[in-house]
Symmetry: C3
Subunit: 675 residues, 3 copies
Amino acid sequence: MTIGVCYFPEHWPSEEWERDVEEMAAAGIDTVRMGEFAWSRIEPERGEIDLDWLAEAIDLLGEHDIDVVLCTPTATPPKWLVDEDPSILQEEADGTTREFGSRRHYCFNSEAYREETERIVRIVAERFRDDPRVVGWQTDNEFGVHGTIRCYCEDCAGAFREWLEERYGDVDALNEAWGTTFWSQHHTEFAEVDPPRHTAAEHHPSRLLDYYRFSSDSAVAYNEFQADLLREVNDDWWITHNFMGQFGSLDAYDASDQLDLVSWDNYPNGFVQDRQTGEPGLDELRAGDPDQVALNHDIYRSALDRPFWVMEQQPGDVNWAAHAPQPGEGAMTLWAHHAVAHGASNVLYFRWRRCREGQEQYHAGLRKQDGSPDRGYHEATRAATELDEVLDGTGTTAVADAPNPVETQAALLHDYENLWATGIQPHAADFDYWEHLLAYYRALRARGVDVDIVPPSNTLSTYDAVVAPTPYLVDNDLASRLDEYVRSGGELLLTIRSGVKDRHNKLQERQQPGPLAPLADVTVDQHETLPSSVDLDIEYRGNRYAYRTWAEWLTDVGEHGSGTTVVHGRLQTDGTTDRAAITHSTVGDGGVTYCGVWPETELAEAVVTDLLDRADVAYTDRLPDGVRVARRTEATWLLNFTGDEVAFALDGETRRVDPYSATPTVYDGADITVE
Amino acid sequence: MTIGVCYFPEHWPSEEWERDVEEMAAAGIDTVRMGEFAWSRIEPERGEIDLDWLAEAIDLLGEHDIDVVLCTPTATPPKWLVDEDPSILQEEADGTTREFGSRRHYCFNSEAYREETERIVRIVAERFRDDPRVVGWQTDNEFGVHGTIRCYCEDCAGAFREWLEERYGDVDALNEAWGTTFWSQHHTEFAEVDPPRHTAAEHHPSRLLDYYRFSSDSAVAYNEFQADLLREVNDDWWITHNFMGQFGSLDAYDASDQLDLVSWDNYPNGFVQDRQTGEPGLDELRAGDPDQVALNHDIYRSALDRPFWVMEQQPGDVNWAAHAPQPGEGAMTLWAHHAVAHGASNVLYFRWRRCREGQEQYHAGLRKQDGSPDRGYHEATRAATELDEVLDGTGTTAVADAPNPVETQAALLHDYENLWATGIQPHAADFDYWEHLLAYYRALRARGVDVDIVPPSNTLSTYDAVVAPTPYLVDNDLASRLDEYVRSGGELLLTIRSGVKDRHNKLQERQQPGPLAPLADVTVDQHETLPSSVDLDIEYRGNRYAYRTWAEWLTDVGEHGSGTTVVHGRLQTDGTTDRAAITHSTVGDGGVTYCGVWPETELAEAVVTDLLDRADVAYTDRLPDGVRVARRTEATWLLNFTGDEVAFALDGETRRVDPYSATPTVYDGADITVE
Amino acid sequence: MTIGVCYFPEHWPSEEWERDVEEMAAAGIDTVRMGEFAWSRIEPERGEIDLDWLAEAIDLLGEHDIDVVLCTPTATPPKWLVDEDPSILQEEADGTTREFGSRRHYCFNSEAYREETERIVRIVAERFRDDPRVVGWQTDNEFGVHGTIRCYCEDCAGAFREWLEERYGDVDALNEAWGTTFWSQHHTEFAEVDPPRHTAAEHHPSRLLDYYRFSSDSAVAYNEFQADLLREVNDDWWITHNFMGQFGSLDAYDASDQLDLVSWDNYPNGFVQDRQTGEPGLDELRAGDPDQVALNHDIYRSALDRPFWVMEQQPGDVNWAAHAPQPGEGAMTLWAHHAVAHGASNVLYFRWRRCREGQEQYHAGLRKQDGSPDRGYHEATRAATELDEVLDGTGTTAVADAPNPVETQAALLHDYENLWATGIQPHAADFDYWEHLLAYYRALRARGVDVDIVPPSNTLSTYDAVVAPTPYLVDNDLASRLDEYVRSGGELLLTIRSGVKDRHNKLQERQQPGPLAPLADVTVDQHETLPSSVDLDIEYRGNRYAYRTWAEWLTDVGEHGSGTTVVHGRLQTDGTTDRAAITHSTVGDGGVTYCGVWPETELAEAVVTDLLDRADVAYTDRLPDGVRVARRTEATWLLNFTGDEVAFALDGETRRVDPYSATPTVYDGADITVE
């Protein structure tokens, strides 16, 4: 399978389904997802089950050899259920209920909702237990969209207390781990601990971090509960969930562990508006920011080290961002190429047909609401043809045990707990974990380097170079694994805010970078943050570069006895003092770079290419913004997210790529330039 | 009557009333409004009624031949009443009560408050049943000010369910009309439907639109309830209500149907700050934006096709906008001229005397708080004299059956439901219904064209040209009425977002402009919205013009067989494609322009003058910003809202108009220019 | 004593305390504050008291001759106490509870919390009753931080009603004083009056002002309750409280009346970011705004006309502002000099050691979290040495009866009620009481003039010049005291918004400046406010100057018969009219300047130097921004808050002062310039 679509037969008269399915087949669509919001269609009143319509749709799809992915319909419990037991609803931190009327209104920790979940999931799953057209399941839909991972209700209060008791055993251990002497926050029993509801000032960072962990764990456990129910019914089914782009309150790595397949929902020209600061240019409004999108591709591919799916692919203009530009001509095909180049084995456009009712009427489908083909239909058709050609059937490998088609020499470390903990204490109004990660990821992609994005718990020895942006929470185990990685020949890049905290979000007793200090062979004497109104620059290897937001002053350089350490970057903080800020240590067979500022583009690229040189990782010439290269087993993709034609030179041979287009090409070298 | 004032005798010692009334008479004031917030003065404790003070004030006014408009005092229920039954209070969508302490705290759907309303209205009305000085009544005060049309309390929940049952008959009809399959929003009975309270994400647009309709209807019904009570007591009284400027949550056309006279409250230099985007210049801060103000004059005149009143006219600096500039010297006289030129038969300055107590101490009156004349007193006096001269007594016609003194060849269609529905789904952060309407209204006023602003249900055949900005909700009836209008010789201008939705705020099945497609002879293939950081332009009849925010790509131009259709405007969306965006069709004896972009000033004027040419509507040369012309039966007004003298040429004869001043002049031609 | 530190032994193992104390002594630290958040350490469960740890810490400090200031631990009631009686918690105006989890969650009006306060204060105080090392007490901690002066709970409702009854006697007096006829706000009994909770529109300004007074009084009464408890135990102890910088909701003058010593918490580079508008430059980010800081020094010194303490002095980077710059090299020493120059007798750095746990981990201490010296330790040590030298022991005078070491000829009047009342009705989005006050204060400091900042109730006859920025609430008593001040030879400067309101926040019946009109010899005919997008200027004594935000048009100049009055400043409001705006009257032996615009820097300086000339107050040449001079009995301090060396010329002799440094010098003249 390669190209699919999300389909809502329940929104249309059944007489139109046959035409729909025929036109899907004509476009080369071989996978359809259904059912994720259908509870009230399946069970309009308690116990009145109607699944015949879904069976009929599956039959029709089967007749055209289209595989079906079904969804549990739990994201939208119907009103009759809410009215029976309003305790299933979520609550805001200030106690306001999240009422029925949109979606995701249920609490992950409601026992009552667990029971209803079990009932409805069994009913739907058992009905299609033996249907060979149903190849897999999606649990629920987009856990966490609209800020719904964190709930503050009484069910959560109880579950949090149990979670804490499980984790700490006795309350003294909790008091010790968090450090509750501060501001008299000592607890005498677990029953005293509430969710972090509205307070006059900020909450205790350790309590908040545990609540964020607990909240993510609650969604993960609920996901596992669903996966188990489905596997109980038919353990041949694979199970997936559709994550969102740059979603932070759910640990996608944890949640992936319950799954056979990871998928995510990709809306490039919405994300470029609402998930990064700054004003996007016209090309980005039309085609998205390729690095922002690819960051997600790489996270979700790396989560299980397997091909992933794009479960929802933007099909045209969408409804939820500040503005709704039309995708550039070709961009909707480009996005499918982009996903596949980064390791996707299937891209499902969302949705088949623009819906006439409800909240998403301004969200395009492949077909217009009158049933006629929309721009996306033509582009999806083209994507199916082009990708079929380049993949030559390899995309159809069964999902669960397919090999990862992307080989990488480099990895970026990413830990949701670091995202949460730095979000709790950003220490600068413009500190943003994702933007900082993206700064380094961009530098790698600008040189055509394929990257895995993995949690620090992963095996690192397979990588020649590892970039660790803000490894903030560090314990001795991680420190010694990184040490071993370097001594065995790895090149590691540590950045600002490394090793600041222990796992409980408590300051390390040892000065930053705490347990990483011996490895990095520096001590962070001070850190400071400054607003963008102040121009900041640094000398790195003889040139001056701009940096932003955050700077660290390094001392004890080379005094930790780990290796040979040299200062490569120095800054003047107040006109009088020259302070070390970027260093490199040779340690065992490898090396460690410590970059104590948040680099602007040019510095990030300088530091990263030095890292790649040391690690002997091949890279291209600098690719312009919006122009990217990505490689998987079958081909190398030349990707053009701009509105102008781009001429790539591959080892001297010129390849022209149209605006908003991609060209997969068989080429093994790194000698790629743009003319 | 021409010039009046709003008076609060209850705020001042009765010994001072005689002086007040004498000075009113001296200024030429012949109408006084009283009583709208006096409940706790009338009834300080339950059942202890004191109306003697009001009778005394009326007597005094009568002695000076000043007519009295009384108000029902229901906008501010006293604290003892709230404490007796707190259920009368409104609630926010998140459940927070709107407590006593400001005004408008009661819910329109409280049965308990209806009973109290009946009691107090009868008490006051019966006391003055036979008083000839009381000529009419204002119901309550400014329904909807401070966002109080929409309440989310349990009384509203119950009333909403009844309203829905009334409208839909059975719940299946509601499910069908709204389209509740989407996100499992099916309802099994009316009792399940709640007000759209706080949710994790956005509400269903059909549910929201019905709630907005219901909320407006609730206020309208409450208004009617009061009007009926008053008419029961004395059916010679005329009844009015004082609407606000650019108020959107109450359908003023609906509410006007209950009234004999429409009035509104006009605060030009507050409105220019808080009801439009962008930074106003100094002239606008001093005199307001004449088009913004006139838009309201024209809406309220058109509501009953009669002279209207300005029930409250800004008398000096006011308290509630971001800044409180002094009106320009003359501006307070200018505003009265402006109102009368647009069809007002009476302008009451608000208030007589600056109040020493409460929330509006920073709101000027005609008199200072020490009782001495303030700037406004002199300007009101001048207005009375000047208007008396030009109207020569015609302003004194009885209000209820006076003929509309403004004759128009052009109309602008305005539908509150379109305002609500586009507000629910703006689809661009900067889409604003009022600003879009104003763009076309400005283009008309810049050419001295007098305009009615009417709901689409009005008879259109009397107009030579009709501009329909965003006729968003369209049913077959409206489509065929517009078709008939055009075929009979009318020139119709349709703009962006035409015909998108059915009456239930559900996407038309037929592509935009839906039922208007045969008439417009185009199909909207795509629409897109873009931020102001992107420069947008379009070629229209050989010239390039800027547009903003919204663009539509038209296809099937001329393929609907309605008439002869030509493309006048084309845009390039991504450097590669030329797309039709503005067209004109000849249909029957008339024509339809479809303008698929939101035009900036110059394009709006080009499109509008082309429309006027086709419709054979005379217009002036382009008038500069802040300089306007308006005409009624008695005269043509030359209006200067700028701080510089302006020289008008009327058919060659020069008339100079002072800064911030108006000159009524007898002149019938359209040949007006500004030197 | 001169240099001290805030210490939290409870955060660290007791084995480390001895080292801590030794290093304190080595730095010259002679005072330590402890215990303000220690309740759950002192009483981890109800009735289980442990104060041995504190006794041990005091013993250790005593062995090194370090004095101890103890704190009542009431700012952070422990969770067990909150769970026993949640009614002690505060509530927001919308009814949301301020829950446990940060600090200051208790309500000042909770009787239950009063009982608990009495219990815990007695327990701690009695334990150390006879300990000679304990020299004084701090009540609670930072009343009002995080917006906690105003609470809206039921306990407050009851207390507010009693407060009103006490103040007004009967409810008719309240109705009369507030003016409750407006919008039917009449109350029939005190029991009807609620806290100003959430309403649809703004509250009655008189009700709000009384609620603000009541709220401040509630904190003051709670403070007095604690002070009385402590004095009952040992009346040799002096009592202080640590106020915050530019804190407005608590009347610090009132609260000081209960105290023997006033202290405040000084964080210059946080304040410069979050307590004034505009983007601070790099020097201000590194060293703060000297005038903003000094304004607080002068308020708190003037409160009891005694030396004050800085109870918490920023020790390095801090955690709570938008950005966390490192203080400039030397700035932490400079701040101690600055405080002492303005009359401080002790400066305690906050905190001893960076805390590893809780909300303030990103707040530096004098020692790093690993116990090693941080930047602040070296600078505190230097401050102790340098200040010991210049003060030569005079700093060690007992606190309660020490003479004020700063002699002033000029005073600035400051009244918290004016801050509250103008905040209730700012009348311009950018009107800010503090910024307006600071405009005049800056003009004085730019000329090296030492100033007291006193409430209008203080004796004024000792001052040659008095600046009264916005004396907004004025009664006859104040008017006649100002009149007497002027007639006896004083020079008084009145500014915009003078004499607008009576004490009940009701407009004076007499036109502005109300009771001050005879003295000022002008009437304010009009006022207006304009946005910063409009350029505003005025002619003052032959030159044009910029002003901002607010202008008044003066009439009746010289017609009040008080003296000889001349117009010095005129403005053109609309191109046509010349209006008086700045005047000076000679009255008796003195004079009154009325400045009816908010001056930008140059005009403020022109008006202020004219005032100083008339009052015969000596002043320096204009000092550059960031360069200041301050004088106390022992010396004159040359203060440099910039990153560049500054050369001062004192009567011709050059003194160079390093970047971010201060030089105390013995010099009596005013002839100071900067080269």
